[in-house]
């Protein structure tokens, strides 16, 4: 399924307090990572309604990243624990719907872990490139943006 010129589209839901700051630091530090992710900042990874993930996939994303503070570090005390529990159930539902496990990822990225963010984006992009588009045959907008 994978093609050489396939550029996966990734939607990244990053929490305001840790992961978004981590991604920001990656930019400030001029770390190199693939430009395939479109970042959406949310106040907490616990704010990521599973509908957001489903909608992203339904509307053209090839992969979705949800990232939040490490367990114990949540700005709202336990938002990321909710995310973790929700994620387990969501993965089970997605698996039954035939969505490959690798397409949806949950990561804990702190505000200092710019390197980790860059590495995850690298890995995730490569993984999705191997898997191919989520909707085979779907026409991608020119330039990959859209």
């Amino acid at each position: 399924m994978a093609t050489a010129d396939f550029e996966p589209r990734i939607i990244g839901f990053l929490c305001n307090w840790c992961s978004y700051a981590g991604a920001d630091l990656a930019g400030v530090a001029r770390l190199q990572y693939p430009p395939n992710v479109r970042i959406i900042r949310v106040m907490c990874s616990g704010r990521v309604d599973p509908q957001f993930v489903f909608k992203a996939l339904a509307e053209g994303a090839d992969g979705v990243l949800v990232a939040g503070c490490h367990p114990g570090d949540c700005h709202y005390a336990d938002g990321n624990y909710k995310t973790m529990r929700r994620f387990h159930l969501m993965k089970k539902v997605l698996a039954q719907l035939g969505v490959e496990e690798e397409r949806v990822r949950l990561e804990w990225i702190s505000a200092a872990e710019a390197n980790l963010f860059a590495r995850i984006m690298q890995e995730f992009t490569e993984e999705l490139r191997r898997l191919g588009p989520f909707k085979p045959g779907r026409k991608l907008a020119a330039g990959g943006e859209g």
């Binding site: 309604d49 599973p50 509908q51 993930v53 489903f54 909608k55 996939l57 339904a58 624990y81 909710k82 973790m84 529990r85 929700r86 994620f87 387990h88 159930l89 969501m90 089970k92 539902v93 039954q96 719907l97 035939g98 969505v99």
Partner: protein, 319 residues
């Protein structure tokens, strides 16, 4: 103005919606006083050619039940859309895909093969599968084409109103018929015959704090009749399901199965329920969460029991 002209049709449905209409009991006589039934295959003897003979827009209201499973269903949807001023997607199947929509977990080939070749009660040595056309000595016979996906009514035609329920509750059917008779119609696209609050709002059970260590299937536990079923670990879709049915299931000690569909502002009832259910899991480590959640059998089939074709992802991939 003469009497209202109403029609009722079943596509991919079980017939329960028709029975629900009859469940308004003696009021059906009142319906006959205000309206002429011009097409209702389950109860009257009008044929397709009668409907084709009506001028466009002749029927005032059509209650269309059932999902769109094959080309005949779609043909009737288009015919009745053309002939009707108001088209109501009546019942969960028509609105969201319903129980027949669970077929979207499988592919067309898989379904045909299971039904016509593999099932233990099938004898089909020649491996005959349904064909859309077949020659017999008497001439050519035609069968509808079985689609790859189950679709909702709104996927194939423009729908004016949506009335959920499997089946819609008779008191709601009566209320909707009265509104139709009054001519005071709600805005197009409205969900009618239902509440805009969740089922929990009308469920009489006592609700306290929800923290669940273990989930049960309905047959594995005798539930306390007073206490919230979800708090007892029974997967109840009440929090994400539109009310209006009178909480018939939870009053009978059975969990809500979600037939009234999502609430306003929710697109995907199943995804929303993932959020609800996971939030009440009482676990602090990934391992514990995994263990508790692992006890939920067939989550996708349960959370999308009535609405897979109308959900965001619509079907399972590569099935």
């Amino acid at each position: 103005m003469g009497k209202l002209k109403i029609a009722s049709y079943w596509a991919a449905a079980c017939g329960g919606c028709d029975v629900a209409i009859l469940d308004i009991h003696e009021k059906i006589v009142d319906v006959a006083n205000i309206a002429d039934i011009v097409f209702w295959p389950v109860a009257t003897d009008f044929k397709e050619k009668d409907v084709e003979g009506y001028p466009d827009g002749y029927i005032d209201v059509t209650l269309f039940h059932g999902a769109i499973r094959n080309s005949e269903n779609e043909h009737y949807a288009q015919l009745l859309r053309r002939k009707s001023k108001v088209l109501v997607a009546f019942g969960s199947c028509s609105m969201m895909g319903g129980i027949p929509g669970l077929a979207n977990f499988k592919s067309r080939d898989g379904i045909l093969s299971r039904v016509y070749l593999e099932s233990p009660s099938t004898q089909n040595r020649e491996g005959v599968l349904p064909q859309t056309r077949v020659e017999v000595p008497e001439g050519e016979l035609e069968l509808p084409y079985f689609y790859e996906d189950v679709k909702t009514l709104a996927d194939v035609v423009d729908v004016d109103y949506f009335m959920p329920g499997c089946p819609p509750a008779p008191h709601q059917i009566w209320a909707v018929l009265q509104v139709i008779a009054s001519g005071n119609l709600p805005p197009k696209g409205a969900v009618v015959g239902a509440s805009d609050k969740s089922l929990c709002d009308e469920c009489p059970r006592v609700k306290t704090e929800k923290k669940v260590k273990k989930f049960y299937r309905p047959h594995e536990i005798i539930p306390d009749p007073e206490k919230c079923l979800l708090e007892q670990g029974i997967v109840c879709m009440g929090p994400v399901t539109r009310g209006g049915c009178g909480a018939q299931c939870t009053r009978a000690n059975m969990p809500c199965r979600g037939c009234y569909g999502p609430l306003d502002g929710v697109v995907d009832q199943g995804a929303k329920f993932v959020s609800t259910l996971a939030s009440i899991v009482d676990a602090d480590t990934p391992e514990e969460a995994e263990e508790i959640i692992g006890k939920i059998v067939d989550p996708a089939g349960t959370f999308y029991r009535f609405g897979l074709p109308g959900s965001l992802l619509r079907r399972a991939r590569n099935a």
